[in-house]
Symmetry: C2
Subunit: 196 residues, 2 copies
DNA sequence: GCGGTAACTTGAACGCGGTTCATTTGTGAG
DNA sequence: CTCACAAATGAACCGCGTTCAAGTTACCGC
């Protein structure tokens, strides 16, 4: 039987993660406060630590959801019939759109890892692997005689490039590129690849 | 006359920046502490705030130096006689080498902007402009009939791509790519561009 | 039901770290 | 030498994540 404690415990976890998700989406990771979360969830500050290791663990839970949504958005962006370069562009654009529409949550996805000292959790590496595998397929079609190791490198290189373009592009404080141009940058890079 | 106070003031600024530079290089931006800096510089904590607006201002001063060194490293990586793609690869590799050799200082260059709320200072935008102009030249050679606006986009796209590859590449917690492979990723992307 | 123990909840308190401020110390013109 | 003003000092303030002693609730064998 799921004891009453277990139920409450699970409900509290859920409330905390939802509150954190809302607050991250609204105010950004930097503005997340333990006391605010406790207030939202209707529990004492200390209760958080019965249910989660620390604040990072909550953010990690939020990141897990976000990563799933991101993966779905990318997966939904192509039907498999497009030529490889088209598909790469479609996926990249989906990545961009997701980052635009969920900037703060998307940024939390990477900001947390950059800061924390503890090892990256398995599900995180797996989620990235999942994204990579979407990219690997069209890349494989484009370069049939490339050996697997080099294909893997190319896959990561393309992901990193798109990620860099989107990251700096959305940080208009630094780059100052209007959003609609970001898509063109992606296209420029991706079409270059096709013409080896 | 430069009053005794003015001298001391300038010396303190210098000592603080040097201490911050050493500490960032050794322990990373996250471990920087006002009290440690005061200890290094042989002054009281409060004295820092007579001489700098806040801690960020010191980091900014460090970043200014780092950016200069980065620009020099990129500038020294080519002699102008190489074909455009070669030159792009040489500059990108120089960027990578600099980031490898000065990881924590290089990361501070971008981490600070991502966090702070106050506007990016002018010299920072200018330094980036400087880097961009190095890239713009070979790009212009590669695509003589491209209009200026698109050339600018391509320039930023290439910088962002390399930046993304280096960033994720050096964060081996996330990507797990051995350093010597990062250079190959850059080459893959850059040579793709050349064959439009 | 009943009592006892284990688990949960609570919020005040701790520790850390950036920043401030009343007080002390130093500077330089008259 | 003196006085007014500037600079230096470090204790104190405040915000915030985390902990903990004390109080409360849930669970189980009787």
């Amino acid at each position: 039987m799921a004891s009453k404690s277990q139920i409450r415990r699970e409900q509290l976890r859920e409330k905390l993660v939802e509150a954190a998700e809302r607050r991250i989406a609204r105010d950004g990771l930097n503005e997340l406060r333990a006391r605010d979360l406790a207030g939202d969830a209707g529990c004492a500050v200390g209760a958080i630590y019965n249910v989660f290791e620390d604040l990072n663990a909550i953010v990690m839970a939020v990141n897990g959801r976000t990563f799933l949504q991101l993966e779905q958005a990318v997966a939904a962006s192509f039907d498999g019939t497009e030529p490889p370069v088209q598909r790469l562009i479609a996926m990249s654009t989906a990545y961009l759109r997701f980052a635009e529409a969920n900037t703060r949550r998307w940024r939390a996805l990477f900001d947390l890892q950059m800061r924390a000292d503890d090892p990256v959790p398995d599900w995180y590496r797996d989620a990235l692997k999942g994204l990579f595998s979407y990219i690997a397929e069209p890349v494989g079609q484009l370069f049939p005689e490339m050996d697997p190791e080099e294909l893997d490198l190319m896959t990561r290189a393309l992901f990193s490039s798109v990620h860099g373009i989107v990251t700096l592009g959305l940080e208009n404080r630094i780059s100052g590129v209007p959003p609609e141009q970001i898509e063109r940058m992606i296209t420029q890079i991706m079409s270059g690849i096709g013409n080896k």
